[in-house]
């Protein structure tokens, strides 16, 4: 795992977890920084951290009706996610988490955007076609007569 750069490093994951609502800001930051340290120590890097605030849960989780949502975007290999999830499972205030891999989806979106931008640059093709046949039709009767 020494030179993990190359194939293993370009996976991007989105990790969303819910923390119990009675957790104070300070402890949340502590938890987030612990996770960030774990990420960087295993060779990944944190792209962004977003605290989505307190939300009402759609169903009761561990007898809580609200929760504080946190979204963490990381880049790294699969082993990194395994480690992060293990930590989250052990951490008491975290009541739910989900990890989604987003680099493949991002590739697809970028491809579509590239196609759309390329298409926008070549619109003049269709309007040019009706003009020449009309001219050709006008010229031939003169020749035959």
């Amino acid at each position: 795992m020494a030179d993990g750069d190359g194939e293993k490093m370009n996976r991007t994951y989105e990790l969303m977890f819910i923390v119990r609502p009675d957790m104070i800001e300070e402890e949340q930051d502590k938890l987030i920084s612990t996770l960030e340290t774990a990420v960087t120590s295993s060779g990944g890097n944190v792209k962004s951290v977003e605290k989505m605030g307190k939300r009402r849960l759609a169903y009761t989780v561990r007898r809580f009706h609200d929760g504080i949502y946190v979204l963490l975007t990381v880049e790294g290999g699969g082993g990194l996610i395994h480690e992060l999830e293990r930590r989250l499972r052990v951490t008491e205030p975290v009541i739910k988490f989900i990890t989604v891999r987003i680099d493949e989806e991002q590739k697809r979106l970028d491809k579509i955007k590239a196609i759309r931008d390329a298409r926008r640059k070549t619109p003049p093709a269709p309007p040019a076609t009706p003009a020449p046949p009309a001219e050709a039709g006008g010229e031939t009767p003169a020749v035959t007569a």
């Binding site: 969303m16 759609a58 169903y59 979204l71």
Partner: protein
């Protein structure tokens, strides 16, 4: 197109409808008790797919194709909630008019949102 409709009307009574290639699942499932329920609605129009055999039902278009929404994220609950019934069930695409690839992505996004408690699994059981 008119012939197809007439043929479909006759064909449905026989059982093996001359499907225009895009309704194999309907043909397979019409067996036994389902048949009696299915046929009357189909003959009158509702339940017809977009662009296929339509009676008087207006063409339903895929919302995602029209608005060119490419990314269906599990995080935008408001978008996903439009395709979820009051009971929490995912609405079938013959009712919403969504096209197949978008319905598949929508479905997995809804399931992800359910897992992270953004949408309920079953709410106000109807």
């Amino acid at each position: 197109m008119a012939e197809e409709i007439r043929a479909a009307a006759h064909g449905s009574s026989v059982g093996d409808r001359p499907s225009g290639g895009d309704r194999p699942s309907g043909g397979d499932r019409s067996s036994g008790p389902d048949r009696g329920e299915r046929r009357p609605p189909r003959a009158s129009g509702p339940g017809a797919r977009e662009g296929g055999r339509k009676y008087f039902r207006r063409k339903k278009v895929c919302k995602f194709c029209v608005e060119k929404i490419e990314a269906i994220n599990y995080k935008d609950v408001r978008l996903l909630a439009q395709f979820v019934a009051e009971s929490g069930k995912i609405v079938p695409r013959r009712l919403t008019g969504v096209c197949t690839p978008h319905q598949r992505r929508l479905s997995s996004a809804i399931k992800q949102a359910r897992n992270i408690a953004l949408l309920p699994f079953a709410g106000r059981a109807s």
